[in-house]
């Protein structure tokens, strides 16, 4: 005890309840097991995790397809009366499923006894939606956690540091989890002069729209929670609602820096939204659909078929969309609303703890959504650079399906490309200085807007000319496609080459590498 | 009521309309009045889209009209906010009762 005697009763130390202790013990156990393994085999574990997730996703699609095709060939009840909850359509009983399974054959009767109970729930839409929502929510959580960790690593490398190295062992892989626990445990402060209810609710206005955007965002031909025919416009609109949360947060904080941040966000939003929408119209004009699946599937023919490389206007539109999307995610050089060096922290100056974390989750998740949108619209979506028709020779067997999903098209490609674009956003943030608000408005309204208008006009004319039967037009299109595709290839290989060179010389000081070897020094 | 028909949507639209009119009457802040106008326009849009869905004759037409109304509402909001800001510059307030100079 302390040497001072206090006249009041000393506070008893807080004792955690059984659930909290169990969670803490579980976390410690996980860390104790994972750390030595991760220290020793970081690479295999990373690759293994990716492959496991892919196989899991693939197996889930396979099970659903199996139930639909083999077991539910006869309609369960009146199809017109099919509904979500109604008891008349509570599907096949397990015994009936058993009979169907035996009829379908191939799986063996012994297995069927187990399968009938495993497969029974999967025939209901509500169960499938539950599974899908769980997966979606997991993705929604895991993406910001690792993008934040990665951003800190990239920032460290760019500034000749190493970034987080300690928490969890290998390269601080558990740093974001630790930060999350810390943020949840922190006190949730609401300033006395703030508008309490608005202040509390504003973070949810930013995070819920991002989650809703994930629901309409296809990750693969069949991996979408709800396929909308207007998915593109829907996602844009939903991300527009996100801005309201930022503005309300800034206003409700009742702090001049926050209000400045909110007003900058409002200004910026009004100016970037239009060029962004215009740039997104270019692929829509080229394909003739607002459905993201249709747009992605029209680019299945390999690298040179991707929209950014098959149409010069789409190529420029991709770049202008990317610039506008930086403003949309409040990323540097357009991070005016939260400019740390001018506005303390901008709109989230007064926030702390969990609500502050919500803002960051929303920002990083929307970075991913924006990047995935760019990939689907311009960079071939979930198709690999190899033409999909090469996979036809493999047939439709189980192994062939898995192989095709890994090599030719599948969520893994979309994830890889989107994560690359997210990486470019991070890279730009730590490379470029922040620009002034009037420069942002000038760039968006006076440069990007006329440019995207011209691009839209040009793309329309290009599509119109493509319908003509003139011989030289086909030749011209091919030449342009090849040139654009080669430019893209040069960029891709150049990037990979520089990255490989840097990895090979990773023991050298980063600054030396740039000064001595790389161009532009 | 286990069947959702035209009537239910129209009643919702009617409530929106009433709320919009109430807002327009009782608010003195010019932007508050603008918010009331937005509510009224939305109620009209709900009507149009409901007719589009439930009446054979209005197929497509209702949605087109709703699109035009949305465009008009956006335009109206832009101009009205501009006017409000000018009002504020000239009178230092957005109380609509103060802007009664033309009454003489």
């Amino acid at each position: 005890m302390s040497q001072f005697s206090v006249p009041w009763q000393p506070k008893q130390p807080y004792s955690y309840g059984a659930p909290a202790r169990a969670v803490i013990a579980l976390a410690r156990l996980t860390a104790d097991i994972a750390t030595p393994l991760l220290r020793r085999f970081p690479g295999p574990i990373l690759i293994g995790a990716i492959v496991t997730v892919c196989l899991g996703v693939w197996a889930h699609a396979l099970v659903f397809g199996y139930v639909d095709q083999r077991l539910l060939t006869q309609p369960v009840a009146d199809a017109a009366a099919f509904s979500y909850f109604s008891p008349s359509t509570w599907g096949l009983s397990p015994t009936l499923l058993h009979a169907r399974l035996e009829m379908a054959g191939g799986q063996g009767a012994a297995l069927a006894g187990l399968l009938q109970y495993l497969l029974w729930p999967v025939q209901f839409q509500i169960v499938r939606d539950g599974i899908a929502l769980g997966a979606l929510f997991g993705l929604f959580n895991i993406i910001p956690v690792y993008v934040i960790w990665w951003e800190r690593k990239v920032a460290g490398r760019i500034q000749s540091r190493v970034g987080p190295m300690r928490v969890g062992g290998w390269h601080g892989w558990a740093q974001s989890f630790a930060d999350g626990i810390k943020l949840v445990l922190k006190e949730d402060l609401v300033p006395k002069e703030a508008d309490g209810p608005l202040f509390r609710i504003a973070p949810y206005f930013t995070i819920i729209p991002t989650l809703v955007a994930f629901m309409a965002l296809p990750l693969g031909a069949t991996y979408v929670f709800r396929e909308l025919d207007v998915a593109l416009v829907f996602i844009l609109g939903v991300l527009g609602v996100e801005v309201v949360g930022v503005i309300v947060a800034g206003w409700a904080s009742n702090n001049k820096w926050s209000v400045y941040g909110a007003m900058r966000e409002a200004c910026q939003m009004v100016s970037y939204e239009i060029p962004m929408g215009m740039a997104l119209l270019v692929p829509v004009v080229c394909v003739g659909s607002l459905n993201l699946r249709t747009i992605a599937e029209s680019q299945a023919g390999g690298w040179f078929d991707w929209l950014a490389f098959s149409n010069p206007f789409a190529f420029v539109a991709f770049i202008s969309y990317f610039i506008a999307s930086l403003a949309s995610c409040k990323r540097a050089p357009f991070d005016l609303p939260e400019a740390e060096s001018e506005l303390v922290a901008g709109f989230h100056t007064e926030y702390s703890g969990f609500r502050w974390a919500l803002f960051f989750f929303a920002e990083y998740a929307s970075m991913f959504v924006i990047a995935a949108l760019a990939v689907i619209l311009f960079l071939g979506g979930w198709n690999s650079p190899l033409p999909g028709s090469w996979g036809d020779a493999l047939g439709d067997g189980l192994a062939a399906q898995g192989f095709k999903g890994l090599l030719f098209s599948g969520p893994i490609w979309l994830m890889l490309k989107s994560i690359f674009l997210v990486y470019v956003q991070i890279w730009l943030r730590w490379t470029l200085p922040r620009i002034r608000i009037d420069q942002v408005l000038y760039a968006c309204v006076q440069v990007l807007l006329p440019l995207t208008m011209l691009l839209l006009l040009g793309a329309t004319l290009w599509v119109w000319a493509s319908t003509s039967d003139v011989g030289w037009w086909a030749v011209l299109t091919t030449i342009v496609t090849i040139i654009l595709g080669l430019i893209g290839l040069v960029f891709a290989f150049g990037f990979v080459g520089i990255a490989a060179y840097g990895f090979y010389h990773r023991r050298r000081l980063v600054g030396n590498l740039v000064i001595d070897v790389l161009p532009g020094s | 009521m286990m069947s959702i028909g035209l009537t239910e949507y129209l009643v919702v639209a009617a409530v929106l309309f009433g709320a919009g009119i109430f807002t327009m009457i009782t608010k003195r802040n010019a932007i508050g009045i603008l918010i009331g106008v937005e509510l009224v326009l939305n109620s009209a849009n709900v009507n149009l889209v409901a007719f589009d869905r439930y009446l054979e004759r209005c197929r497509i037409d209702g949605q087109i009209l709703a699109l035009v109304v949305i465009v008009l509402a956006a335009a109206e909001a832009a101009i009205a906010v501009g006017i409000c800001i000018n009002l504020y510059k000239n009178l230092a307030t957005v109380d609509v009762d103060t802007a009664a100079k033309l009454r003489g």
């Binding site: - | 009617a14 603008l34 869905r53 509402a73």
Partner: protein
């Protein structure tokens, strides 16, 4: 908030000077008798009009009533019913909250609730494109503009301009009556039977229709937007001319 200044500054004096005469406008200009006459006229009009509408309904709709009634409306799927009542409830709640909120920014937030709920109503009505446009234009554009306007014209917190209680009561009476009459007429009308479950209208259908049947409204809307753009720019430029 950010333009809050100490009391007694030039701004405050000017505000109070401007506001002082206008406090009495509501009661003095329009005498109580005249107001009573107006109300009497309004009530009389409603009392006359409602039976008239009912009679006309009987006259016009009665002949076609038989085929309509013979078709029993099919029960909607349970999910649709639940969703409708949830969304309609949030729409109505948001709209009423807009009415009764005093703080202008909170009004805008409730308006956001209403607008998003209305977008969900459009989804339930199988009008996906309108719903998405509602989200983009209203929730993303107009609402931001409104909040922006609020920020630029935010008043000092001690200057309150609120209507008198009497005014609120009158307004509530008028609007309540309006909604009641509308609801009465709407529920009393016999609408044609609902169609079969329809697929959502495709964007292609809408686009084709905009480019053929409705090309004139489409172009006029475009011209209107152009005019509005010029007008808004002009309004914004006024600042430079005034000293």
């Amino acid at each position: 908030m950010y333009c809050r200044g100490p009391e007694g500054t030039v701004l405050t004096k000017r505000l109070t000077a401007e506001l002082a005469p206008s406090d009495s406008i509501g009661s003095s200009r329009l005498g109580g008798l005249w107001r009573l006459c107006g109300w009497g006229l309004a009530v009389a009009a409603v009392l006359v009009l409602v039976p008239e509408v009912r009679a006309q309904q009987k006259v016009i709709i009665e002949p076609t009533r038989v085929p309509y009634q013979s078709v029993e409306a099919p029960p909607s799927p349970l999910l649709e019913v639940l969703l409708f009542y949830a969304v309609a409830g949030s729409t109505v709640f948001g709209a009423l909250a807009v009415c009764f909120t005093k703080n202008i920014v909170r009004m805008a937030v409730w308006l956001l609730v209403t607008l998003v709920s209305v977008a969900m109503l459009y989804f339930l009505l199988a009008a996906n494109f309108i719903a998405a446009v509602q989200l983009i234009v209203y929730a993303g554009g107009t609402l931001i503009l409104l909040i922006f306007g609020v920020m630029l014209t935010s008043k000092s917190p001690w200057v309150k301009f609120e209507p008198s209680k009497v005014e609120v009561v009158y307004a509530a009476a008028v609007c309540g009556l309006l909604v009641a009459v509308l609801a009465f007429i709407l529920t009393a009308t016999i609408w044609p039977p609902a169609q079969e479950q329809l697929d959502a209208t495709t964007v292609a259908d809408l686009g084709r229709s905009l480019m053929t049947t409705y090309v004139v409204p489409f172009e006029v809307a475009g011209v209107l937007l152009m005019i509005v753009m010029v007008g808004a720019a002009h309004l914004a430029r006024q600042e430079k001319q005034s000293p």
